[in-house]
């Protein structure tokens, strides 16, 4: 560490390529960027013309598997629902049902079933925002699970999107009604936001 300012609030030093600036109640640490090893110029051999397009092509090549994967995620959701029916909501069954729904919420669009993601998101919201899960009507759980499965099963058929949207809208309405009743007449905060912007600044180091 090098000597700092007279008021002692700031000291700067370097250790092993890491610059450390010490302030009164915090330190700012700037390690050497070890990932600089991966910086490359466009012309370097072995780097594709467009890595994003290359990755999208690779994902498209995998897409033949997606319908089967979606089916297995639906089976998992169904098994979790059956466990809730058999044992009621406890920590384990609640977690299994939530987790199964949450995975579908996150993956269904990638698998080509975005409408199923919407219905699964409603199920997650129902579980997450109900203060006491034991009060969730099992019929409402069934309606969500059956809706997800029906949307997947009927995917690609005529009117599938219209029916899926109607189902999801109705699920949301019924869930809202239940959540209001369980939360003193108010809907819990809906503070969903997109990810923070992370696009690199121009003139990157």
């Amino acid at each position: 560490m090098s000597p700092g300012r007279r008021d002692g609030t700031r000291k700067t030093g370097k250790s092993g390529g890491t610059k450390v600036t010490q302030f009164r109640d915090h330190a700012v640490i700037e390690p050497q960027n070890p990932l600089q090893k991966a910086w490359a110029r466009q012309s370097i051999e072995g780097i594709g013309s467009d890595p994003v397009a290359d990755a999208e092509r690779a994902l498209a090549a995998l897409s033949g598997e997606f319908a089967g994967w979606m089916d297995s995620e639906c089976e998992r959701l169904d098994a979790a629902r059956k466990a809730v029916r058999a044992k009621g909501f406890d920590a384990e069954t609640r977690q299994a049902l939530y987790h199964a729904g949450h995975d579908i919420k996150g993956q269904a669009a990638t698998f080509g079933f975005p409408r199923a993601a919407t219905a699964a998101a409603s199920l997650c919201r129902l579980i997450e925002r109900t203060p006491d899960a034991r009060r969730i009507p099992v019929d409402l759980v069934d309606q969500h699970v059956d809706a997800v499965r029906a949307i997947v099963r009927e995917h690609g058929t005529a009117r599938a999107d219209i029916v899926a949207e109607a189902l999801s809208t109705r699920l949301r309405e019924v869930t809202d009604e239940f959540l209001r009743a369980e939360n003193g007449g108010l809907l819990p905060d809906e503070d969903e936001v997109l990810s923070p912007p992370t696009v690199p600044r121009p003139g990157a180091r």
Binding site: R24, I29, P31, L35, A38, E56, L62, P200
Partner: protein, 182 residues
């Protein structure tokens, strides 16, 4: 323009869902990466992190044993492992603001909401490779600087002591500000 030579980066994917791991692996291979390690829960992830010393960690939030937040906290223990500065990209179905803030406060570098896209993942990786943020260490926090932007128009208390010319920035009354701009 900086591009990434993915062949020189080692990734660790931690997600309990095998389908998601396969998708991530496919995308990373599509980018050109060859060294991709996988783990299916937080404990196995920590083990794989220690053993393989990845350049970038991509982790799910909800996982058995311990979750992505706990894993992040364990990695961000100065002196506890080989690389507490490793970039951690959290890939999750959670999109609520409070979740994003919680992940940030645990030391997550980037937050990516599912459904995943090749472009979004690429942008996050590009950010951590090309524009790493400095780390901040306080009594209660160790992780990438949570201030992504410097707002020159900020008025309010400067919460970091000793890092600004004036630690308290006087707030101008709203009425005064309106008068000034008229």
């Amino acid at each position: 323009m900086v591009r990434i030579d993915f062949n020189r980066l080692r990734f660790l994917l931690i997600d309990d869902n095998a389908h998601m791991r396969r998708i991530l692996r496919t995308l990373l291979h599509g980018f050109g990466s060859r060294e991709v390690y996988e783990a299916e829960d937080g404990a196995a992830g920590l083990e794989a992190f220690t053993h393989n010393i990845p350049d970038i960690v991509i982790t799910d939030w909800a996982m058995p044993i311990f979750d992505g937040l706990e894993l992040t906290q364990m990695i961000r223990q100065p002196g506890a492992n080989a690389n507490p500065f490793v970039p951690i990209i959290m890939l999750t179905g959670h999109s609520e603001k409070k979740r994003v803030m919680a992940a940030r406060d645990c030391g997550v570098t980037e937050f990516l909401v599912k459904p995943i896209s090749a472009n979004a993942l690429y942008q996050r990786i590009l950010t951590v490779v090309v524009n790493p943020r400095p780390f901040i260490k306080t009594k209660t926090f160790f992780g990438p600087d949570r201030r992504r932007l410097v707002n020159p128009n900020y008025v309010g208390v400067e919460r970091r002591k000793g890092s600004a010319k004036a630690e308290i920035i006087p707030q101008q009354a709203l009425l005064e500000r309106v008068k000034t701009t008229e």
